[in-house]
Amino acid sequence: MSFKSAVITFPGSNCDRDALCYLKDLTKGEVHNIWHEETSLPKVDLVILPGGFSFGDYLRSGAMASKSKIIDEVVKHANDNRYLLGICNGFQILTEIGLLEGALIRNKKLKFLGKNCFIKKKFKNNFNLSIKDNQILQIPVAHNEGNFYCDTETLNLLKNNEQIAFEYCKGEFSNTEENINGSIEAIAGITNKKKNVLGMMPHPERAYSDFHQSQDGRLIIESLIS
């Protein structure tokens, strides 16, 4: 059975094309591009909320996109137990919708961060099944507000429910950082309680092709398909 997926485009999304290519190349199935003003979603296995600066990041990153017409359908899709992945700005939108806990605040050095980062999986879920324990993935980040924050109570919930999917870590060589943006407990990605919704700051869609610096981003789609 072929894997079907969709990418939502908001005004200001700038990784929507990248996400579409990522899905087309790796799933070999049907891939839809959905404009934010649509009011229906095709029945697909995975929806991606892509990176970018939806609505210029005005008000608060992701805040305005979370009120788009298509969002009701996205929420229904998630409630149906199907996969939903928010990357970078997509992660910010998911926290604004309330599908994921916590918030993404400004990076600890208060500067945009565009570089390779290293992550590993924390708790197992369907998005990281194909990744080995302690396997270090190299995936680029590009964000201003990627510093994950939540209160202690929420953090304990995230841990107890095993909702932390990825955490930043040092790479194999010197001069790599433990926690690139100051996130609480170096959190790079979390899921909802049911673990069908994942938000992550690193961009796996920029690390899958042979010519990319790393192909580790494939593992996420491979995990979902397997």
Binding site: R17, D57, P140, S174, R206
Partner: protein, 721 residues
């Protein structure tokens, strides 16, 4: 009209009399504003035109040379590459964040106006000495501004340069370059096609920002001016630009647009005049129809440089469809006039013609000056004393000089991997991106050696072009064409004018030899404050390609045990300007010896060797040798904790500059093959050592690898904070 008013508009009285005589009537204030905008250096190149005409601008791959919004070259099949560099120096000094941000915005509009989708940006930025708080403020603001705009719109930043030198203390330079991909049969030009076509306004509403920006950019500064001129700096909105870009590209690919012009410097005035001039037609525009952010006079509307605005010509029958597409992208759109057959530029406001001028007088009669210039005096030869120079001190001199340190602090603030086609990120000899959906790659590099050009403008410019050329060659990218940004001080000084003239001459010589025509460019003059002129800084942006992404070289070490070879010819110690300056041997510009004549045939010969060896897959990594010599090139190549062990006759050799200089890494098993190839081509080489793990060793002396690498990688941030 009173003299003071004329001079305030940046026109000379002589220039005004030419206009007055031609029209045989007094000018309206709006008309004076138009001449002020169109006859300044920024728009009409009145000082440089005579010399720019001498540059080679055409060859078999040039589709569009200078004169349009951007140059376009042919990349086979249906692929074209549009690119251009442009300065935003003065605004970036007055308001670094918005000045640099709108510099990026402006150059991106130049690219998508041609129907091209931007695929990469680069930037060449120069600041004064970091010891002043002002420089720190400017550096932070400029880098933040460039990043903010490019990151938000989502175009990868793939390289550039960042230098510090005292003559830029009050005149920092911000030159932004953009590269776009266009289908050759879908290129758009500014020339309107039919009389009666509707002139439409697309994009942000017009406000007061940037009024007189173009004439400000053609002015000498004094420090007190800064506050007064701040309102002339435009404010950028990258989100709007993203919508505008997507909207315009959709309109163009739907075939709904006849021609398009970006409202950049001098706003609606310059874009409409250019439209009329290119098409040899007239334009009629009703200023009352222009979407406004706030109440403005006709004069202000004409000269506003509000950002993210386009002027297009469409067929009447497409009006409805155009509106629909732009509504989807939430972009303002208004029909404001039409193309006429009068060959006149007519602007109407409140049922009154406020401007009614023949296009001819504005464009063809624009002044062109043949300014006086001096040729620099011949330099005396001098032997410098190198006896007290110690290797350890030389390394420390490099590691305490911002110009040599790793600039991650700068380019980590830029998104360099968005669009998913980036192959080489900033920090390598050239940035490289793939043409989406193909195996073809585009490489680009920006360079300038101001010190060389001050010593000898003609030879120095040849070295500058050669450096860009080497940057591309090192990655196995075939150099194809050039865009230039000529940053100079006041051309009214014959010495400065001499540097301008001679460096253009040097650019011509090198561009002809390398068969890399100049297809677009920009001139920024009067870069001087408080009587301190900047060093001559004609920046080169060179673009090249490789049809097969698998053949690209890396600039980073690949494997421990591989051999390190040097190609090219070392400049003598006495004639290595950066060695003398940065090792604190020569202090004053008059002390330096003349440059060695650069043999461009030799450059080409060695470059061809690198390209051939790369195609034979014999080169594992390669870097060009520039400022800081072999040592600096090796530092830049370190990767995954690999270092180097080298032996040279004299350690100073490691810091000398080169002509046709490359460091190449080869496998031991390829050594015979490579060296016999080089011998056959009579290309001299020097085997200097090998790659080792976590070590730096020079003539058996061991250095602390992690200490040096830590300083190299992390001290930039420490010094500038």
């Amino acid at each position: 009209m009173n003299e003071e008013l004329i001079l305030q508009h940046g026109l000379t009285l002589d220039e005004f009399h030419v206009i007055r005589k031609y029209l045989n009537r007094d000018l309206s204030i709006e008309e004076l504003g138009i001449f002020s905008a169109m006859w300044n250096e920024h728009c009409c190149y009145k000082t440089s035109k005579k010399w720019l005409k001498k540059l080679p601008t055409d060859n078999e791959i040039v589709i569009q040379g200078p004169g349009e919004n951007a140059g376009v070259i042919d990349l086979q099949d249906n692929d074209g590459i549009a690119f251009k560099i442009e300065s935003h120096n003065h605004p970036s000094y007055i308001e670094p964040f918005n000045g640099s941000a709108t510099g990026v915005g402006g150059i991106l509009r130049d690219i998508f106006t041609m129907g091209a989708r931007p695929i990469a940006t680069l930037d060449s930025i120069r600041f004064g000495l970091i010891e002043t708080e002002k420089t720190k403020y400017l550096l932070n603001g400029v880098v933040n501004g460039i990043g903010h705009y490019g990151n938000c719109i989502g175009i990868p930043n793939i390289g550039g340069e960042c230098e510090f030198e005292s003559t830029y203390d009050f005149n920092n330079l911000v030159n932004a370059m953009a590269v776009g991909h266009v289908q050759k049969d879908k290129i758009f030009y500014s020339k309107p096609k039919s009389i009666g076509g509707l002139i439409v306004y697309i994009g942000s509403k017009t406000g007061k920002d940037g009024i007189h920006g173009a004439s400000m950019a053609s002015d000498v500064f004094s420090e007190e001016d800064e506050d007064e001129k701040r309102p002339s700096v435009q404010v950028g909105d990258p989100f709007m630009e993203k919508l505008l870009m997507e909207g315009c590209l959709e309109l163009m690919s739907s075939g709904l647009i006849e021609s398009m012009q970006d409202m950049g410097a001098a706003g609606i005035t310059s874009s409409s005049v250019e439209m009329a001039s290119k098409g040899n037609v007239g334009v009629y525009i009703n200023l009352d129809k222009v979407p406004l952010r706030q109440p403005l006079s006709a004069y202000e509307i004409l000269l506003s440089e509000s950002q993210e605005r386009m002027l297009a010509v469409i067929d009447k029958k497409n009006n409805h469809k155009v509106r629909e597409i732009l509504q989807k992208w939430q972009i303002d759109y208004e029909v404001i006039g039409e193309i006429t057959d009068t060959k006149r530029v007519v602007f109407e406001s409140n049922n009154k013609k406020v401007v009614d001028l023949p296009v001819e007088i504005i464009v063809n009669d624009a002044p062109e000056y043949d300014r006086e210039f001096y040729i620099p005096k011949k330099r005396k030869n001098k032997d410098f004393d190198f006896s007290k120079i110690k290797l350890e001190d030389m390394i420390i001199n490099l590691l305490t000089n911002l110009n040599y340190l790793d600039k991650s602090w700068v380019f980590d603030q830029y998104d360099s991997t968005v669009m998913g086609d980036t192959i080489r990120e900033p920090g390598q000899s050239s940035g490289i991106v793939k043409i989406h959906g193909t195996q073809k790659v585009i490489g680009a590099s920006t360079d300038c050696n101001p010190l060389y050009i001050r010593i000898n403008p003609y030879e120095g410019m040849k070295y500058t072009v050669a450096e860009s050329y080497r940057n591309l060659i090192a990655c196995n990218i075939n150099p194809l064409a050039i865009t230039n940004n000529l940053n100079f001080a006041s051309p009214l000084d014959p010495n400065i004018m001499g540097e301008l003239v001679l460096s253009i001459h040097g650019l011509k010589t090198a561009a002809v030899k390398f068969n890399t025509p100049i297809v677009s460019g920009n001139v920024s003059l009067y870069n001087q404050t408080n009587e301190i002129p900047i060093k001559p800084t004609p920046v080169i942006g060179m673009v090249g390609s490789n049809m097969d992404l698998n053949k690209i070289n890396t600039n980073k070490f690949c494997e421990i045990g591989n051999k390190i070879l040097i190609l090219g010819k070392q400049l003598t110690k006495n004639c290595s300007p950066y060695l003398l300056q940065d090792q604190k041997i020569a202090f004053n510009i008059c002390e330096f010896n003349d440059l060695e004549v650069l043999d461009l045939d030799f450059e080409k010969k060695i470059a061809n060797c690198v390209l051939e060896l790369s195609d034979l897959k014999c080169i594992m990594s390669c870097n060009d040798i520039s400022r800081g010599g072999i040592f600096s090139a090796l530092l830049k190549m370190q990767y995954k904790d690999m270092g180097f062990r080298v032996k040279v006759p004299d350690p100073i050799d490691l810091f000398c500059e080169y002509s046709a200089g490359y460091v190449i890494e080869i496998r031991s098993k390829d050594f015979e093959k490579v060296t016999s190839f080089l011998t056959k081509k009579s290309a001299e080489y020097l085997e200097i050592g090998e790659i080792i793990k976590e070590g730096i060793e020079i003539n058996s002396k061991k250095f602390d690898y992690f200490d040096i690498m830590n300083k190299y990688r992390n001290d930039f941030e420490k010094i500038i904070s």
